[in-house]
């Protein structure tokens, strides 16, 4: 048995809210702001904690999905080389390091975007834009919902 993570986080939030914050002098404006932001960050992290692994796995799955959807994009040598690199990044995405693997796929997609602009055929250029807009629209909605508790979003 290990100490419950939520209880540990909640205890920090309570200490910051009820012990530290009230004892900060009124003139310590930066300290007050920072403590309030810390409390907010910790509360949201606590609320999301159990869902983080699934969220990050889904980010990787979505990156793999967009990469596979882009596999039909064709063009000259630059585009072909970018496709080879993108396929390799997808093949090596086994889910063991979801953040790094997502990053590798997104970087390979970036290279493909630039390569297609350089020597992709016209049909592929349009298709690439349409695919990215479709998949990124869906991804952005998920991300906006995930970060909505921070209070900036008008979603």
């Amino acid at each position: 048995m290990t100490p419950n993570t939520h209880e540990r986080l909640n205890s920090v939030v309570r200490a910051l809210s009820e012990v530290v914050l009230p004892h900060l002098p009124p003139e310590a404006s930066l300290a007050q702001e920072q403590v309030q932001l810390c409390i907010g960050q910790l509360q949201i992290l606590g609320a999301q904690l159990d869902a983080i692994p699934a969220y990050e796995r889904e980010e990787l799955d979505d990156a793999i999905a967009i990469a596979k959807a882009l596999s039909g994009i064709s063009g000259g040598p630059e585009t072909q080389a970018a496709q080879t690199a993108l396929a390799a990044s997808v093949d090596s995405a086994d889910g063991r390091d979801v953040r790094e693997q997502r990053k590798a796929i997104n970087t390979a997609v970036e290279t493909l975007v630039h390569a297609t602009s350089a020597d992709g055929d016209d049909e592929s250029k349009s298709a690439l834009t349409a695919i990215i807009l479709e998949y990124e629209h869906a991804r952005a909605q998920k991300d906006r919902a995930w970060f909505a508790p921070f209070g900036f979003d008008t979603l």
């Binding site: 907010g40 952005a140 991300d143 995930w146 900036f152 008008t154």
Partner: protein, 377 residues
């Protein structure tokens, strides 16, 4: 190493400074007692016999460390504001350039006045400026605790008082005769019609790379689209760079704007760049389904009024370009510049920077929406 990419010279220096500062030790927020000692030492040289008291930190904002203080000299007490850069800021800028422009803009629009400037950190730990204090607030006192400027709600009464001033001052800035003004460090992108757009694009793309922003497909697509579709500019003017509610002071009772703030991103460029920034959804409000830029104007109303008052014609295709550039740039600021400052522990409010980074999806979604729109003719 200085970038070989084409941009205004000052921005190359700014990128060099940001690169060099990355190797410095961590930075922590200055204590009021430390600032008191610093100011006392500064004025011992600048104004022998003067004394410093009442140093207190100014809250809000995401970029500078700011402190009010009183300088007593020959029986007179005067309030000043110290603005000091952290070691790495969410927006990396130049204090001397800001000082030069504030002097030039004095009398054109209401601006704070600089009393002293230490652009190269000869005395202060980082570059700093000491400003005369201007009365006013950046948001209504009952608007809650949101970070200044992001979706500030002004309400009907203040909106009616502020909107004409907001627009007229923008028009005045764009009409400013920069060609005859003394503006060292300001260079005009007049080598060819696309240079204004190119300089802006190049700078932000370089700092995105420098700060190791994590790419995603929509950012790659936006970058490529911006590189491929740069508009011509045949009407170079002074741009403010961060013109929005939150970046001006106003008297809460009368609604009079007392100072336009945050000139640090100003440059000679395309007025559409200011319009695109002002019209970004994140800086506005949505009330009953109606979007208002800076909570002051609906989009078409703003464009129409700007054209009427400035005598300029807004090119919809160019504005579309700068709409996209604005969201791409905002993504870079919150998604790369802020996190890089926090990661390197070179800022005084890392936790705010990582908080702001959660707005990334809003800008990603903006880019999806904008790049999916039919391009205006």
């Amino acid at each position: 190493m200085t970038t070989t990419v084409e941009m205004e010279s000052i921005y190359k220096k700014i990128l060099d400074r940001r690169t060099a500062n990355r190797d410095l030790p961590p930075y922590r927020a200055a204590l009021s007692t430390e600032i008191t000692d610093l100011l006392a030492g500064f004025f011992k040289k600048e104004k022998p016999g003067a004394t410093v008291s009442g140093v207190r930190r100014v809250g809000g904002g995401a970029s500078k460390e700011q402190f009010f203080f009183t300088l007593s000299d020959n029986g007179t007490d005067t309030q000043y504001l110290l603005r000091m850069d952290p070691r790495i800021a969410i927006t990396e800028t130049d204090r001397e350039r800001e000082h030069i422009l504030l002097q030039a803009m004095d009398g054109v629009v209401p601006v704070p006045k600089t009393a002293w400037v230490d652009p190269n950190a000869d005395f202060f730990p980082q570059s700093a400026a000491i400003m005369h204090v201007v009365d006013g607030v950046t948001k209504p006192s009952d608007s809650g605790v949101k970070v200044t400027g992001l979706g500030t709600y002004l309400g009907e009464d203040l909106r009616a008082k502020l909107r004409d001033q907001f627009l007229d001052y923008l028009v005045a800035i764009h009409a400013f005769d920069w060609r005859t003004a003394n503006l060292p460090t300001f260079e005009a992108p007049d080598a060819d019609p696309k240079q204004a757009a190119r300089w802006s694009f190049n700078y932000w793309r370089e700092i995105w790379r420098l700060d190791e922003g994590e790419t995603r497909p929509i950012m790659a697509l936006a970058e490529q689209w911006l590189a491929n579709n740069m508009p011509d500019c045949d009407d170079l003017c002074m741009t403010h760079g961060d013109y929005r509610t939150g970046n001006y002071l106003f008297d809460e009772d009368t609604g009079e704007i007392t100072a336009m703030l945050d000139w640090e991103l100003a440059r000679i460029g395309d007025f559409h760049e200011d319009l695109g920034w002002i019209l970004m959804q994140v800086f506005g409000t949505i009330e009953n389904g109606t979007f208002r830029a800076s909570d002051l104007f609906e989009r078409e109303e703003f464009i129409r009024e700007y054209e009427k008052r400035s005598g300029r014609t807004v090119n919809r295709k160019t504005l579309h370009y700068y709409d996209i550039l604005s969201s791409w740039k905002a993504y870079i600021i919150v998604g790369a510049n802020g996190p890089a400052a926090a990661r390197s522990q070179h800022n005084h409010q890392d936790v705010l920077l990582t908080f702001l980074a959660t707005t990334i999806p809003m800008f990603a979604d903006d880019l999806v929406r904008l790049l999916g729109q039919e391009e205006p003719k």
